[in-house]
Symmetry: C2
Subunit: 401 residues, 2 copies
C-alpha cells in the first residue's frame, strides 16, 4: 500500500488581462478573445515569445447553447492564429472560468507543458431569439424534473429567504453587498457598471424573485479574460512579480432543489474551499482578499460562511461589522464582483484571477488592498451544483518541481 502523496500545486501566473466588461454588441466572441489575449500578453513584464505558449484552454459555456458557436478548442485557435496548438474547451456552468484555470494548471504541474494560456469568454447580451434566452436561463431539460419557472433568480432567491428565516438575516444585509460591490466597481475601470447605489435604492428596486430585487442581481454582461501560466522555475524569465496558484478545489452537489438538504448553505463551496485551503496550506483567516461569486447578493453573503470567513448564520453580522469591506478583515469583490463588474459566465473565473493578479502585484489603483499575500477566487454554478475555488499567493510553494 502506497501512502497518498500530499496534494500540492505551485504554478506561476506571469500574465493576466481582460477587456472592459459590458454590453459589447459591437464585439464578436472572436473580437473579445483577441482583446483579452492582447491585454494578457501586454501584462507580461519582460514580454513573451508567443511560440513559447505550448497549449491552451478555452472556458466558455453559453455560446454553444444559444448560438451554436464556441464549440471546441478550435474556437480559440482560429481568431488567435494559434494552430496547431492543442486547445481544450471546458464547460462547468458558472464555474467554467475557475475550472479552466484548474485544468490548465494540472498540465503544467504534470510537467507536460511549461507555459500555457487560459482564455474565458462569453457573450450574454445579443442572443438569437427569445427562445434561446428562455432555454438558457431556465436550464431547460427535457426530462421529468424539467424545472419550469426555476430560473436562476428563483433558485437563488430561495436560499436568501431560507437564510432570513433561519438566522434573522434581513434584506438590508443583502443590500449592503450591492452597495459595497457597486462602490468597488466604480473604482474598477474594467467593470460593467460604474455607479454607486444606496441601500434604499436596492430595497426599493423592482422585485425579481423575493427577497432578491433588481439591484440584488448581477447584470448579463459580455466579456473575456486571459491568463498565462508557467512552471514556477521559469516564472522570472517572464515576470518581475509573478504570482502563484497554490491551491485549487472543485466540488459538485445536486442541481435539483427537491434533492437539496439545506437552503442556507452550498456544500460544494465548503468542499471546494476545503480542498483549496489544504492544498495551499492556509486557512480562511490567511486570505487577504477574495473574489466571490455574487450572482445575487444573498449568494455572496452565504458564501462568506461557506468559505469560513465567518460562522454559519453570521454573514449578515459580518458585513454589518465591515468584514468584507475594502478596509475590513477580508475585502471581498474589490473588482466590483459579478454584481457590478458583470458575469460573462466563462470569463468570470478568469477575470477574478486578473483582479487577484493586480491586487497581489500592487497594481489595483484606487481599490488596492494593503499588502495582500493571498487572494482567493470562488465560482458557484448551476445554483450550487458546482463550485471551484482557486488560491493564489506571492510566493511559490515547495512543490512537485
Amino acid at each position: 500500500m502506497v501512502t497518498k502523496k500530499k496534494k500540492m500545486i505551485s504554478v506561476a501566473v506571469v500574465g493576466a488581462g481582460m477587456i472592459k466588461f459590458g454590453e459589447l454588441f459591437d464585439q464578436s466572441y472572436e473580437d473579445m478573445i483577441v482583446g483579452a489575449y492582447k491585454a494578457c500578453l501586454k501584462s507580461v513584464d519582460k514580454g513573451i515569445d508567443e511560440a513559447e505558449i505550448e497549449a491552451a484552454w478555452l472556458g466558455t459555456c453559453v455560446g454553444s447553447l444559444t448560438r451554436r458557436e464556441m464549440l471546441s478548442g478550435t474556437r480559440l485557435s482560429e481568431p488567435l492564429a494559434l494552430f496547431p496548438m492543442p486547445v481544450t474547451r471546458i464547460e462547468n456552468h458558472c464555474a467554467t472560468g475557475s475550472d479552466t484555470i484548474r485544468n490548465a494548471a494540472f498540465s503544467v504541474a504534470a510537467g507536460i507543458y511549461d507555459t500555457v494560456l487560459v482564455v474565458g469568454v462569453e457573450k450574454m447580451r445579443d442572443i438569437p431569439s427569445l427562445e434561446a434566452m428562455v432555454d438558457q436561463t431556465s436550464f431547460m431539460q427535457h426530462l421529468w424534473w424539467h424545472p419550469r419557472g426555476q430560473t436562476p433568480p428563483a433558485m437563488f432567491a430561495q436560499f436568501g429567504s431560507a437564510h432570513m428565516q433561519a438566522f434573522g438575516t434581513t434584506r438590508e444585509h443583502f443590500a449592503r453587498v450591492a452597495v459595497k460591490n457597486h462602490h468597488n466597481g466604480k473604482l474598477d475601470p474594467y467593470a460593467h457598471f460604474q455607479f454607486e447605489v444606496t441601500i434604499d435604492q436596492v430595497l426599493n428596486a423592482p422585485m425579481v424573485a423575493w427577497p432578491m430585487g433588481l439591484l440584488d442581481s448581477c447584470p448579463t454582461t459580455d466579456g473575456a479574460a486571459a491568463v498565462i501560466l508557467t512552471r514556477p522555475d521559469r516564472a522570472k524569465e517572464y515576470s518581475h512579480s509573478p504570482i502563484y496558484l497554490l491551491g485549487t478545489g472543485c466540488a459538485t452537489d445536486t442541481f435539483h432543489s427537491h434533492n437539496k438538504r439545506s437552503f442556507t448553505e452550498w456544500p460544494a463551496t465548503a468542499e471546494a474551499s476545503r480542498q483549496a485551503y489544504e492544498m495551499a496550506g492556509i486557512g480562511p483567516k490567511d486570505v487577504d482578499l477574495a473574489e466571490l461569486h455574487d450572482c445575487f447578493t444573498c449568494t455572496e453573503l452565504i458564501t462568506y460562511e461557506d468559505l469560513g470567513f465567518c460562522k454559519k448564520g453570521e454573514g449578515g453580522k459580518w458585513i454589518e461589522e465591515g468584514g468584507p469591506m475594502m478596509e475590513g478583515e477580508i475585502p471581498c469583490n474589490t473588482s466590483g464582483g459579478l454584481k457590478s463588474k458583470g458575469h460573462p459566465v466563462g470569463a468570470t473565473g478568469v477575470a477574478q484571477a486578473c483582479e487577484i493578479w493586480w491586487q497581489l502585484r500592487g497594481e489595483a489603483g484606487k481599490r488596492q488592498v494593503k499588502n495582500p499575500a493571498f487572494g482567493l477566487t470562488h465560482n458557484l454554478g448551476g445554483t450550487g451544483s458546482i463550485s471551484c475555488v482557486n488560491i493564489f499567493g506571492l510566493e511559490p510553494r515547495s512543490s512537485n518541481f
Copy 2:
C-alpha cells in the same frame, strides 16, 4: 534559462468498460452513464473501493446543444451519487472522449489525484426536434461564414474526392474500409451494427455526398464508456494487468473549408500523433493496433497516412495490401470503429480506449490481435479542426513518478 523537460507521461488504466452501442431509445443519458460505470468497476481485477476515486471528468458534446442537458460535471455526479467529487466537463467536438482522458491523466501525472474516473456519453438518436437535428449536423453558426449546407458528410466528402484526384484513390479503396470494419464489428459484442457488407453493397448504397455513400458513413448511435486511471505505482493494487497511457497529443486546425490549405490531409492528426509518438518514445511502426476516427471511410484511409502508417497518398494501396486488416501490419478498428461500432461523440474516444484495454490484456475474443504491446486511439473533430491521439502500452515508462 531552464532547459525544457522531456515531456513524459505514464498513467495506469486499471478499469475500462462500456455499454453496447446502438439505438438506445430506452436509456437516458443517466442510464447509459450508470451502465458504463458499472461495467468499468466490474473490469477492475482486484476490485476498487469507490471512495478511492478522487475526481472525475465527463466528456459529452451534443446534449447541451440539442436537449439543454449534460451541462457541467454535475451531470455525472448526480446519477452516480458521486457528490461532492470534483467533476470537469470537457467538450472538444468529436475529439471530446480522447481529450477527456488526456485532461484527467494530467491531473494524475501532476500528483494531484491518485485515482480518477473518465466517462464519455452521448445520445444521438432521440433529439427533441428536426430543428435541433439541423442545428446539430450543420454546426450552425450565426456568423458571416455560416456554412449553409456544409453538413459533416459534405465537408468530409470533399476530402475523399480530392484524395481520389490527387492520388488515384478509388471508391473501391474507401469501400474496403467499410467491409473491414463491418467484419470486425460483427466480432465485437459492443458494436451497434452486427452485420457484414460487401464492396458491391457499399458501392451501390444510396449516395450521401459523393464519393461517400450510405455505407461509407458511420451511423448515429447512442452510447457510453468509462475508464479508471491511477498512478502507475498504485496500479497493481487494483489490477493484475494494468495498461498505461504513455503518450497523448492534441492539435487544432482551421474549421472552415475556405481556410484549409489542403483537402488530402488533416494537419491536426499529423501534429497530435507527432506529440503522442514523441511522448511515448515510439514511432508509427511500433503501433500494434489502432482505433481510428472512421466517421467516413475516406477519413480512415487518409488517417492511415496522417498517422504515418503508410506514406501520403498510399492509403489506398496500403489497405489493398492488407495493412490495416486484422492479420495485417497494423490492424485498424478491430472494434468495428465508428463505422460499425457507432459514434456517440463524447463516448467514442473513451470506447476506443476500452478496445485497446481489451486487446492489450488479451481479452478481445474472436477479434484478438496477437500479442500487442502498443495500441493507439485517434479522434478527429470539427471536420479536421481538432484531433487527439492517445497511445497505450503494456509497460509503464520511467516517468515523473
